[in-house]
């Protein structure tokens, strides 16, 4: 029993260090900034939201032009994806009360394309090697 509990404790400790690339910004009353290399990110907030509340996005910190409004859920977070390189500002807006939350900023800068293409070709070479070895060896070793 002691061994099982130790194993569980080790696994819990290891799992708790997961997801280093999932950076989170918090949309609450505490402003936050986050940098992101994949174009997807999660924003969070505390407190309950009404059915009419939306999350506003603007590329201007002054929110002169709101470029998109996202509906929000009672689950206190939203995950957005597919963003290009750039600086994006978000805030919650309640149209019924005409109230805004604080604003948060997400900076998106995608990884280097040349590194990605190099890794792609490396993966392709590795994969072709594996396929050739398995098919060639299976044909050659029909019997033991």
């Amino acid at each position: 029993m002691k061994a099982i509990l130790s194993a569980v404790a080790i696994l819990l400790a290891v799992f708790s260090f997961l997801s280093p690339t999932f950076a989170y910004a918090e949309v609450e009353l505490t402003p936050a900034e986050q940098a992101n290399s994949e174009g997807y990110f999660t924003l969070r907030w505390k407190g309950s939201v009404s059915e009419s509340m939306v999350l506003e996005m603007s590329t201007a910190s002054s929110f002169d032009t709101v470029e998109h409004q996202y509906p929000v859920t009672r689950l206190q977070s939203i995950t957005l994806s597919g963003y290009d390189n750039g600086l994006y500002h978000f805030r919650l807006y309640d149209p019924e009360k005409a109230e805004y939350s604080n604003a948060v900023t997400v900076s998106v800068e995608h990884r280097s394309l040349s590194l990605a293409i190099k890794l792609f070709f490396l993966g392709a070479v590795l994969f072709v090697t594996l396929v050739v070895i398995i098919l060639f060896s299976s044909r050659k070793n029909n019997s033991i």
Binding site: V72, T79, G82, H110, A116, I134
Partner: protein, 470 residues
């Protein structure tokens, strides 16, 4: 917007109905289990139809029903295509399944192979890798049950997670691999019908033109074929999928359980049938912005889109489909990991004199203990499904080359295999933390190959294949 589409009463009713159905089915099938081989390997007599269905259903899991939409939502087109490439693992395992059955007609686990082929230390490294992966997958499946219920019915995450674990542990405990394979067959039919229906309704309701124009405007990177992180992810996922299948006792136990000469055809067919499924399930995620659905967490996108498209009745249907997909994988993993604990850890390390009756009992205790540990690990919901699964990629991809070289070449020795797995995993984990989850498996696989090649050049073990038939 409120994400709840099924009432709590409906969610409980479905859980209860399917729970009773699967557990009763497991009990009925398990009545004829008289020996350890019956319980662990379904009497080594599984025919083509059941063999193909179980291979396919086991591979349709949180990967295809929850994580494929998640990765499409995050990586766009490449996320969808990359996930369907996981079918390559099944296709490439097909010739290997035939080889495994020929080399070890009386084998029980993949651990047996590593121990006899490479010796003690490689076996220990392999067991660590394999058990870590098994727990990662088990936890992801338990979490997926909780996420599914939470997204569709608003029920607490812990209730869904506990329910799916209890149901799967009960029927696997009662029926063994026979129950796992038979329920997989029924679950495959439910999953396939559901996936086809959802895809058809999605395309006709929203329309491809609308999806394309909305995604281009709101989430342009999702349609960009030169999206850097997504390009990196593609082959990483290929090696992750291959590593998962090549090393895992879930697949080895099937290779042992299938009738002679069935394995190769069954794995080929299941791989070909599986390949389009992540495309269909992932495609739904591209309709998110057209439907104005933005998930709280990326792994909730699949059920939320389906519920939005199909309404309340549809959401119930989705609930049943995803629940079946999760159950079909969870039961297989429980059975296969319990085999590994029974044969490799208990008989191999703790009680070498244990007879078959004793092992039969230990096998059942193992399923129960695995269920309890998984439940504890699922409680905190520490990360997203995609991140958790890809973390294990660093582990499993390191085993690909030691297994392939071990099955086909006499030269590779135990030290080389152990180092390849240990250093491959370590470098994969470093890449996970330094770059991202989408390069962990690729790095691990590459390092493992380099070490294997060095070992092949430096020393010829001249292994005798007949030693595997003991």
């Amino acid at each position: 917007m409120n994400s709840v589409v099924i009432s709590t009463e409906w969610a409980f009713t479905i859980l209860l109905a399917f729970g009773v159905l699967w557990v009763a089915f497991g009990w009925w099938l398990g009545r004829s289990n008289k020996s350890l081989d019956d319980f662990m390997l379904a009497g080594r007599n599984v025919g083509f139809a059941f063999a193909s269905a179980t291979a396919m259903a086991t591979w349709i899991t949180s990967n295809t029903t929850l994580v494929a939409p998640q990765l499409t939502y995050q990586f766009g087109i490449w996320g969808m295509v990359g996930y369907s490439m996981a079918a390559l693992g099944l296709l490439l395992f097909a010739p290997m399944a035939q080889r495994i059955k020929a080399l070890m007609p009386h084998g029980h686990t993949c651990g047996d192979f590593i121990r006899m082929r490479y010796g003690f230390w490689a076996w220990i490294v392999f067991l660590i890798v394999s058990l870590f992966y098994a727990f990662g997958w088990l936890v992801s499946l338990g979490m997926a049950g909780g996420i599914l219920l939470s997204a569709l019915s608003g029920l607490d995450y812990h209730i869904g997670m506990t329910a799916i674990l209890v149901i799967c542990v009960c029927y696997t405990l009662l029926g063994g691999l026979k129950a796992v394979i038979a329920t997989d067959f029924v679950q495959t039919i439910i999953i396939l019908s559901g996936v086809v229906l959802i895809a058809y309704i999605g395309i006709t309701e929203v329309g491809l033109d609308t999806i394309h124009s909305t995604v281009s405007e709101e989430s342009p990177q999702l349609l960009n074929l030169l999206f850097p992180a997504a390009i990196m992810f593609l082959f990483n996922n290929v090696f992750f999928g291959i590593g998962e299948i090549f090393h895992s006792n879930v697949w080895w136990s099937r290779a042992f359980a299938f009738k002679e000469k069935i394995g190769k055809r069954a794995f080929l067919l299941s791989g070909m049938l599986w390949m389009p499924i992540p495309i269909v399930t992932g495609f739904a995620a591209l309709a998110a912005s057209s439907l104005n659905v933005y998930p709280p967490s990326a792994d909730m996108i699949g059920p939320l889109i389906a519920a939005k498209l199909l309404g309340k009745i549809g959401a119930i249907f989705v609930f049943i489909v995803v629940f079946s997909a999760l159950a079909s994988s969870l039961d297989s993993l429980l059975a296969a990991t319990s085999d590994l604990i029974t044969k490799d850890i208990y008989k191999g390390l703790i009680n070498k004199q244990a007879d078959k009756q004793k092992l039969f009992k230990i096998s059942k205790y193992s399923i129960l203990i695995l269920g309890v540990i998984t439940w504890i690990l699922c409680l905190p919901k520490m990360t997203t499904l995609g991140a958790l699964l890809n973390f294990t990629g660093a582990f499993v991809a390191s085993t690909i080359w030691p297994i392939v070289f071990g099955l086909y070449y006499r030269r590779l020795n135990g030290v080389g295999a152990a180092l390849a797995m240990a250093l491959g995993t370590s470098c994969g984990l470093l890449a996970y933390w330094l770059v991202g989850f989408y390069v962990a498996a690729l790095t691990s696989c590459l390092v493992s190959l380099v070490i294997c090649l060095f070992a092949l050049v430096l020393k010829d073990q001249k292994f005798e294949w007949k030693d595997l038939q003991q």
